[in-house]
C-alpha cells in the first residue's frame, strides 16, 4: 500500500542527492544552521583514565542538541524537491521530532509528529519544543504506546496521505531507500572525523570508532566512511536495559532474530510466534525493537563488534564524562562511553567516540538516578 510513496522516493533520491544545487543547499545549511563541522575533541582526562587516546565527535553541539538534525535537513530538502508540502514523522524521546519540527519551521512546511502516549508523558519538554516550533504532536494510543507504535501511526498517516506528504524517518530503518538515505545524510559525521583526525594525528583512520545503536542512525553516520578501512574497528553499543537476560532490554543483536518490521528485513526482538516484543532501556532513544539492516549485516559479518550496556553502566559513564571533561552527554551517547572499561585499548591507539547528543533532555532521569536533587 505504501508502494507508490516509497517507489517515488526510491527512483529519485540518489539523483536528487547528487544534484549540485542540492549538495550546496545541504552543506550550506549544515554549516550555517546546524553549526558543522562539529569539533573532534581530544578528551585528555578521559584518555588518562583509560590509558589510551580518546577523541569525542561532538554531535551534541549540533543545533537542537543531537545528530538527528543532519538527516532532517537532508530529508526536508528532498521533500521540497519531490513537491511535498507536508511532513510526518515519528519520535521516541522527542529528539527526532524536535529536529523535524525545527526544519519544518525553517522551510515553512506543515509538520505532524506521532509520539507514543507514554513517551508524551515522559518527555514533556520535547513535546513543548515541538509545539513551540509549530508542529502538531499526535499521541499514538495503540499497542504499547511508545516508539514502535508511533512509527506504525506515522506509516498509517502516510498511507492515508500519499500525495502531498513526505515521511521523515529518523533512523536507518523502514523500507528501502530509507536506511540507505538516512545513512548517507548522517555520513557527514565520519567524513569530518577523517579530515579532522588527519589534521590532529596525521592519519585518517582511528583504531576504534564507538557509537550507540538503537535503530542505528548515528552509528551508521560514524561508521560510514570507515566501512572499508579494516584497520578501524567498529564498535556498537546496544542498550541492555536492566540486563540482557532480565526481560527488560533493547539489545537486539543479543536477543533478536531475523524478521520483518516497518518494511525492513533485519534483526528483530520478537516472540517465537513472530510478534514484536516491546523493548526497554533507560534511554528512550535506544528502545526500538529492531536495528537497521546495515547494522544487522555488520553484526553477522563480524565487521562491527556489539556490546550490551546496562542502564547502570550508562549512568556511571554519563557522570564520569561530566566530571572529567565538563560535558553532560545524552543517555544514548553514554552507552557508547560505557564501552571504554570493556575495550582495553592500548596507550598509543586512537579511539573515537561519537557523542551523539547532549544530556539536557535527560536531566530528569539524571536527577532521580544520580541523586542530584
Amino acid at each position: 500500500m505504501l508502494y507508490p510513496n516509497v517507489e517515488e522516493l526510491r527512483l529519485n533520491y540518489l539523483q536528487i542527492m547528487q544534484e549540485p544545487s542540492f549538495q550546496k543547499e545541504f552543506h550550506d545549511l549544515l554549516r550555517d544552521y546546524v553549526g558543522r563541522p562539529t569539533p573532534l575533541f581530544k578528551a585528555n582526562r578521559l584518555s588518562e583514565k583509560y590509558h589510551t587516546t580518546i577523541y569525542l565527535k561532538r554531535e551534541d553541539l549540533c543545533h537542537t542538541g543531537a545528530h538527528k538534525v543532519n538527516n532532517t535537513i537532508g530529508q526536508i530538502l528532498m521533500a521540497k524537491r519531490l513537491g511535498k508540502n507536508k511532513i510526518v514523522a515519528e519520535t521516541g524521546a522527542g529528539q527526532h521530532g524536535v529536529a523535524t519540527a525545527t526544519v519544518c519551521a525553517l522551510m515553512g512546511l506543515e509538520c505532524i509528529v506521532y509520539m507514543g502516549a507514554i513517551d508524551i508523558e515522559r518527555q514533556a519538554p520535547n513535546v513543548a519544543r515541538m509545539r513551540m516550533l509549530g508542529a502538531t504532536v499526535v499521541a499514538a494510543q495503540s499497542g504499547s504506546k511508545t516508539l514502535k507504535d508511533a512509527t506504525n501511526e506515522a506509516m498509517r498517516h502516510w498511507i492515508n496521505n500519499p500525495v502531498d506528504t513526505h515521511y521523515i524517518i529518523g533512523s536507518v530503518v523502514g523500507p528501502h531507500p530509507y536506511p540507505d538515505m538516512v545513512a548517507r545524510f548522517q555520513s557527514v559525521i565520519s567524513e569530518e572525523i577523517k579530515w579532522q583526525l588527519k589534521e590532529k594525528e596525521g592519519k585518517e583512520n582511528p583504531d576504534y570508532v564507538i557509537a550507540c545503536v538503537g535503530g542505528g542512525s548515528n552509528a551508521a553516520g560514524a561508521f560510514y566512511h570507515f566501512l572499508d578501512a579494516t584497520e578501524t574497528k567498529l564498535i556498537a553499543a546496544e542498550a541492555a536495559g536492566q540486563g540482557v537476560a532480565s526481560g527488560h532490554s533493547a539489545a537486539t543483536t543479543f536477543l533478536g532474530k531475523e524478521g520483518v518490521l516497518h518494511g525492513s528485513r533485519s534483526l528483530l526482538m520478537q516472540t517465537e510466534d513472530g510478534q514484536v516484543v516491546e523493548p526497554y532501556s533507560i534511554s528512550a532513544g535506544l528502545d526500538y525493537p529492531g536495528i537497521g539492516p546495515m547494522h544487522a549485516h555488520l553484526f553477522k559479518t563480524g565487521r562491527a563488534q556489539f556490546f550490551a550496556i546496562e542502564d547502570e553502566e550508562a549512568l556511571a559513564s554519563a557522570l564520569e564524562l561530566s566530571q572529567l571533561e565538563g560535558i553532560i552527554p545524552a543517555l544514548e551517547s553514554s552507552h557508547a562511553l560505557a564501552v571504554l572499561p570493556h575495550l582495553k585499548a592500548k596507550k598509543d591507539e586512537i579511539v573515537v567516540i561519537n557523542l551523539s547528543g547532549r544530556g539536557d533532555k535527560d536531566l530528569g532521569t539524571y536527577m532521580k538516578r544520580l541523586n542530584l536533587i
Binding site: S142, G143, N152, N160, L261, Q270, G274
Partner: protein, 257 residues
Amino acid sequence: MNRIDKVFAEKNGPVLNIYATAGFPNFDDTLTVIKSLSEGGADIIEIGMPYSDPVADGETIQMANQVSLDQGMSVAKLFDQLKDLRKEVQTPVILMGYVNPVLQFGIEKFCQKCAEVGVDGLILPDLPMAEYLAEYKSIFDRYGLYNIFLITPQTSDDRIRYIDEHSHGFIYMVSSASTTGAKTGISEEQEAYFKRIAGMNLKNPRLIGFGISDNDSFLKASKHASGAIIGSAFVKLLSTSKNIKLDIVNFLHSILK
C-alpha cells in the same frame, strides 16, 4: 478448481467478502464465525492472523488483533482451530496477515498447513511483489495458494497491469488512500477511480475494500467491480455482540437485502 475461482465463475450478482480477526471476540470463536458467515451468505471469508503491529489496519482491527493476541492466538493455534474447516464449510477462506509471523512459522510449513486445512489464498500487505516473485511464489504455487495483491488510487496503470499478470483469484482494490476503517461511504472521486480501473479490462476480477460498511456502500462499490469486502464494520459488530451467530446472520441480511 480453486474455490475462489469457483465463486467468481458461478456467482450471479456481487461477491461479498467478509473479514474477521481470528480468535475474536473470544479465542474459540474462529470457526463459529466462519460457519455463521458461510450460512448467512458470505461468498468469501477472510480470516485475519493477528499481529502486534498491523500497519495497514486502523484502530478497530488493531484492537481486535491485540485482544486475540492477549487471548493467546498464534499461527499454530489458528491452524489447530481450522483443522476441521472443510468438514463444515465449503466457502473459500483467505488468510490475511503480516509477513513476520508467517516467516517465523516457516514459509513452507505455513503453506503446507494452509493446503492441509483447506485455505485457498493469502493476503500479506507487507510482502512486496518483488520478494513474492523471487522467494515465495513457487512455494505458494506448489500448495495451490492464491496470493492476493492490493492496489490503491495511487497505483500506476503499469503496475496494475503487472499485478494483474501475476495475480490469481482476484485483485483487492483499496477504495481510497487509507488504512482499514478510516473512512466510510463512497465519494464521487472514488467512483471515478473505480470506473477507471473497470475500464482497464483486467484479467482478474476485482473486489473493493476499505470503507464498505453497509448495503448502500456494498452496492455502490459492486457496480464497478465483481463485489466488495467488509472488514472493520463487521469487527465492530463482533466486538459488541452478545449472540454472535444471530448477529452475523442479521448483519449479512442487512448487507444483502
